[in-house]
Amino acid sequence: MKIYYLKPNIIVAGILFPLFMFFAFALGRNAPLGSLIPGLIGITLLFSASSIEPVSIPIERRMKTFDRLLSAPVSLSAVVFGESLSGFLYSIIIAVIPLLIGIFAFGTIISAPLFLIPGLVLTAFCFSSMGTLFAAYPTENVGEVMSILNIVRLPLIFISGVFIPIASMPAIGQAVAFCSPLTYGNDLIEGAYSGTTMFGAGVDYAVLLVFIVAFQVAGNRLYRKFNE
């Protein structure tokens, strides 16, 4: 972890990009900054959690240190899970920053901490698993993985109710929103501030867990396939 957390591409993709998006939306909507804090936490989780493995794994392939992991007496599922954990931990640490800014700079109040903690944990692990899955793409070039990943994660900002409420979307937009894991993570984080969730916390937990399992299983299969 200590090797990769301060890599420039991780700082840019995981910290600066969410911040720029936040200001872009805040200025565009002329809304109080405090009201956008849940959205900032959501996209921070998305970008920070999913940025570690797409950077670290291609570099490890190039340096051949990934072979060291693959040939160790550790199962492939443990390697995939461990890689996801590093993105998860980084993301949780980074997400605390907007959380504290919200509390101390804008006086935002967390009404339902029980939504917040599982919301942060599940959302962070979901997106770190997604990053690990995309990093299975067999390349030694960080840019290639990031490009493919951005095709998926950039649209998630706009279709998941982060800055644009799902209720105000057209029917097709709402249908797409239901397919995004960020929708459910954001619902929990919004719920932590507002006190209520759109889908119900149980549904949000369950859907995020399904996404986590799906990303982990798919990741395992792809790493196995590409290492044959």
Partner: protein, 320 residues
């Protein structure tokens, strides 16, 4: 029980057959050399045996553990030193050792003692807190080897361990390989350095185009091409016409100039020596040195891999 058993192992990449039904055994405590030209299937074999890659068909065991079904148990017995010095540049030598030890479940107390012992052995203990990034190529190679031994493996895969190294690193690594072998560790060595295989290995397998061309001890392999012998002579002064003149000696198949020496390939070294001496007397040349040279492992390698056509070593080819 053998350390490695390989049976009818094949690996297909699309339309390319990288390994074609190879089979061999490596006994416990043996130093086994795996030689072959680039693309012959050496790395593919190591990747399958170390569980990084999967075979298309066939099977293999490491100390009786099936590499497919009991992969993790098999890997616990292994130390792997890959061709690339795959150390973590951003970590210190010590942290690299600790990380590898954790991967191999080496207990904390044992791992620190073992890391100290190995870093000492490889002359890196004084630099243990320096980042690997700042190490020379030879130091990184030594660190890679130290990392491969942190779990006291019973079997070590060494992929080109001394390739492109300075003399000091080379000597340290060769000494360690010798010591490992003395202590009963099985060594699976791939190398381009045929002389290294010749002096290090109990047995050698020559692989070419995915197939095992020969497996035997270096001396027995050399014995299969006894016809590839030569006489090497050096005169006290250069004589360009000597090559043509010596080519005419009956029984000489080819003459090559190698530095200040002239090498004559023949099936009958004893028969041509008097004729060389006569030639020297006629031309008023003094003989500085005169040696008969048997076939080298390299000759065997060249013959079995069919490289003679490209290398221009017609002597080997012609005499065969």
């Amino acid at each position: 029980m053998n350390a490695i058993v390989v049976r009818e192992l094949s690996k297909q990449f699309g339309h390319v057959k990288a390994l074609d039904d190879i089979s061999f055994d490596v006994a416990k405590g043996e130093t086994f050399g795996f030689l072959g030209p680039n693309g012959a299937g050496k790395t593919t074999t190591i990747r399958i045996l170390t569980g990084i890659s999967r075979p298309t068909s066939g099977h293999a065991t490491i100390f009786g553990f099936d590499i497919e079904r009991e992969r993790l148990l098999a890997r616990r017995h292994l130390g792997i030193v890959s061709e690339t010095s795959n150390v973590y540049d951003e970590l210190s030598a010590w942290d690299n050792m600790m990380f590898t030890a954790e991967l191999y479940y080496v207990p904390r107390a044992a791992r620190e003692a073992k890391a100290k012992e190995l870093l000492d052995l490889f002359g890196l203990y004084e630099r243990r807190n320096d980042l690997a990034h700042d190490f020379s190529k030879g130091m990184k190679r030594r660190l890679t080897l130290a990392m491969g031994l942190i779990n006291d493996p019973e079997l070590v895969f060494l992929d080109e361990p001394t390739s492109g190294l300075d003399v000091a690193s080379n000597l340290i690594i060769r000494d360690v390989i010798g010591e490992l072998n003395k202590s009963g560790v099985t060594i699976f060595l791939t190398t381009h350095n045929i002389e290294e295989a010749n002096i290090t290995c109990d047995r050698v397998a020559i692989i070419n185009k995915g197939e095992i061309a020969a497996i035997d001890s270096p001396e027995k392999l050399k014995g299969t091409i006894q016809s590839v012998q030569s006489v090497e002579v050096s005169f006290n002064r250069p004589m360009p016409e000597a090559i043509e003149a010596l080519s005419g000696i009956p029984g000489v198949n080819e003459v090559k100039k190698e530095g200040d020496k002239i090498k004559m390939f023949t099936g009958n070294p004893a028969g041509i020596i008097p004729l060389i001496v006569s030639f020297a007397e006629q031309e008023h040349l003094d003989i500085v040195s005169l040696n008969t040279i048997g076939p080298s492992l390299e000759d065997v390698f060249i013959r079995l891999t069919g490289l003679e056509g490209r290398s221009g070593l017609k002597g080997v080819h012609a005499i065969d």
